[in-house]
C-alpha cells in the first residue's frame, strides 16, 4: 500500500484506504506517516484495525489505534483498567511464557512489576548515572575516532547507524552489565533480530521469524545465566552483580527473571537510543540552521535532547488491554479491548505542541511522551538515554563537525520501532 503525499496536515487522505497493520505502511517516509496520523487524530482518534497476520498464532479481534495525546495519557495513567500484562510489545497475544521471556517487566502488572522495578530502580537513577558519565563520554570519543579512521582508510564515507548510532548504546549497556567483549557482537546481532519486526532483510520469512526470535532469546538467556552464576561466585561493580544479590522485602529475583530482564535491557537499551541518534543526525542534516545553532551553543542541549526524542519517537507504540468495560474521554470500550498508544502521533498533537511539525531544539516546555506517558512503566532508561543522546551529539559537533549525510536512509519495516537500518554519510569538507 502506498499513500500519495496529500496536504501536509493530512487533509484529503482517504482513511478507508489506510491499514496500520499493513507492514508496507511503515516503510513510507515520515512525512506520509505523519500526514496519516494527523488525519486519524482529527477524524478517527480511536480507529479500529484488524490484527496483522502471523502464521503461527491466531489473531485476536483487532485493536484501537490511539493517536491523540490526551487519550494516550489517559490510558497510560490508569494501569489497573488498561493493563500491560496481556502483552505490551506485541499486537497479537503471545503465549504467556513467551510474553515474559521477551517482555519481562514491560509486560507485567502490579504486584510483580512493582517488585522488579524497585529492585532495578536504584541502578538507573541520575545519581548512579553520574558515575557513568565519564564512561559514556569515553565511549563516544572512541566510537567517533573509529568512524573517522574508517572514513580515512576507505572512501571517506561511513554508515551513521553501524559506525556511530549502534555501537555507543551497545557499549554503554554492555559495560553497565559487565558483558565480556567477546560476547558483544552476538548481543548486537540477537537484539537486532528480536526487534526486527520480521524485516525481510534481517529474517528470511515470517515462519523463520518465530524460530529466529526463540533462538536469539535463548542465546541471550544462556549468556545471562552464565554471567549470573559467575557474579554470584565473584561479585563485581556492575548491574549483573546488583541484580543477583538484590533483595526486596526478603524476595530475590529468580534466574529466569534476571535473564528476561537482561533481554529487555539489551533490546530496550540498544534499539531505541540507536534510532534516536541516527534519526537525530538525519533531522539535523535536514535542518542545518538548527544543527548550527546547537553546535554553537552547548546550553541548548537540555531542550534539544527532548526535541530529538519527540521528533524521532523511536518506539512506535506500546499496547494496553482493558481489564473491564468502561469509557475513556467519551470512547466506550469493553473488557479485552486492545489499544496501541502511538507515541509518535501523540508527540505531534497540535492540542499540546505549538507548530508540532516544526523541529525546534529550543522548544520549552516540551512534554513529549517518547519515553512513555504517565504511568508505572515510564521508561526505566530515560535518564540514561538522555545522557547518551546529549553526549553523542556534543561529540559529533566536537570531533566530527564535517559529518554530512550523503545518501538516502534505509528504513526498518516495523510499526513498533521507528528505525533506520543504514544512513550513509561522508566525513570531509562540507
Amino acid at each position: 500500500m502506498t499513500v500519495g503525499l496529500a496536504a501536509p496536515d493530512g487533509a484529503g487522505i482517504d482513511l478507508d484506504g489506510i491499514d496500520l497493520s499493513d507492514r508496507e505502511f511503515w516503510l513510507q517516509p515520515p512525512a506520509v506517516r505523519h500526514a496519516v496520523f494527523d488525519a486519524l487524530r482529527r477524524e478517527r482518534p480511536f480507529a479500529f484495525y484488524a490484527e496483522p497476520e502471523l502464521p503461527w498464532l491466531e489473531a485476536g479481534r483487532g485493536y484501537y489505534a490511539v493517536t491523540r495525546y490526551a487519550d494516550v495519557d489517559a490510558i497510560s495513567s490508569r494501569p489497573a483498567v488498561f493493563c500491560s500484562g496481556s502483552g505490551a510489545v506485541s499486537i497479537i497475544d503471545m503465549p504467556p511464557d513467551i510474553n515474559e521471556f521477551f517482555g519481562s517487566m514491560i509486560s507485567m502488572d502490579d504486584p510483580r512489576h512493582a517488585k522488579i522495578r524497585r529492585i532495578v530502580a536504584k541502578t538507573f537513577t541520575p545519581r548512579m548515572l553520574e558515575r557513568l558519565v565519564d564512561s559514556v563520554q569515553q565511549i563516544a570519543d572512541d566510537v567517533a575516532d573509529g568512524a573517522r579512521r574508517k572514513a580515512e582508510a576507505g572512501d571517506g564515507t561511513i554508515d551513521v547507524v553501524a559506525d556511530l548510532a549502534a555501537p555507543i548504546p551497545l557499549r554503554v549497556v554492555c559495560d553497565m552489565m559487565g558483558i565480556p567483549d567477546e560476547d558483544r557482537a552476538m548481543v548486537l546481532q540477537k537484539s537486532t533480530i528480536i526487534l526486527s519486526g520480521g524485516d525481510p532483510e534481517l529474517v528470511e520469512s515470517l515462519e523463520d521469524f518465530a524460530a529466529a526470535m526463540l533462538e536469539a532469546g535463548g542465546a541471550l538467556s544462556d549468556l545471562m545465566n552464565r554471567l549470573a552464576a559467575e557474579r554470584l561466585a565473584d561479585p563485581r561493580d556492575d548491574l549483573t552483580t546488583a541484580l543477583v544479590r538484590s533483595e526486596v522485602g526478603g524476595e530475590q529475583l529468580t534466574h529466569q527473571e534476571i535473564a528476561s530482564f537482561f533481554i529487555l535491557l539489551l533490546v530496550a537499551g540498544n534499539e531505541t537510543t540507536r534510532n534516536a541518534i541516527s534519526q537525530g543526525v538525519l533531522a539535523l542534516s535536514e535542518h542545518p540552521e538548527q544543527r548550527d545553532r546547537w553546535a554553537a551553543d552547548p546550553e541548548l542541549t537540555r531542550t534539544a535532547v527532548e526535541e530529538i526524542v519527540r521528533w524521532t519517537s523511536p518506539i512506535g507504540w506500546m499496547r494496553r488491554t482493558a481489564t473491564q468495560d468502561g469509557e475513556v474521554n467519551g470512547h466506550r470500550f469493553a473488557a479485552g479491548d486492545k489499544f496501541l498508544l502511538f507515541y509518535g502521533a501523540a508527540n505531534r498533537d497540535p492540542e499540546v505542541f505549538r507548530e508540532p511539525q516544526v523541529l525546534d531544539l529550543a522548544r520549552d516546555p516540551n512534554p513529549q511522551i517518547g519515553f512513555g506517558a504517565h504511568g508505572p512503566h515510564f521508561c526505566l532508561g530515560a535518564h540514561l538515554a538522555r545522557r547518551e543522546i546529549a553526549v553523542t551529539f556534543r561529540t559529533i559537533f566536537d570531533r566530527l563537525p564535517d559529518l554530512t549525510v550523503s545518501g538516502e536512509p534505509s528504513r526498518l519495516r516495523s510499526s513498533f520501532v521507528n528505525g533506520l537500518k543504514r544512513l550513509p554519510a561522508r566525513l570531509g569538507e562540507r
Partner: protein, 69 residues
C-alpha cells in the same frame, strides 16, 4: 510553608524527581523514594514544583502548611 506528599501506592521509583531536584529526592538502595526535605526551602520550590509536575506516576503533590499534628 509547603509540604511534599508522596502517594506510596502510585510511586514506582522512576527517579524522575531525583533528576530534577536531587537535593530533595533520592531513590534509596531498597528502591524506595526518600524525601530529604519534606518541607522544602523557598529556594528548592521551583525544582520541587517541576518534579511534582513531571512525575511519571503522578505520585507527588505539594500541599500548603506544615505536617499535621
Amino acid at each position: 510553608m509547603s509540604r511534599i506528599v508522596v502517594d506510596r501506592q502510585r510511586c514506582a521509583s522512576t527517579g524522575g524527581c531525583e533528576a530534577v531536584a536531587p537535593d530533595v529526592f533520592e531513590i534509596a538502595d531498597d528502591g524506595e523514594l526518600v524525601v530529604h526535605r519534606p518541607e522544602p526551602d523557598e529556594g528548592d520550590l521551583p525544582d520541587v514544583r517541576e518534579a511534582v509536575r513531571t512525575c511519571p506516576t503522578l505520585a507527588l503533590t505539594l500541599v500548603d502548611g506544615p505536617r499535621p499534628g
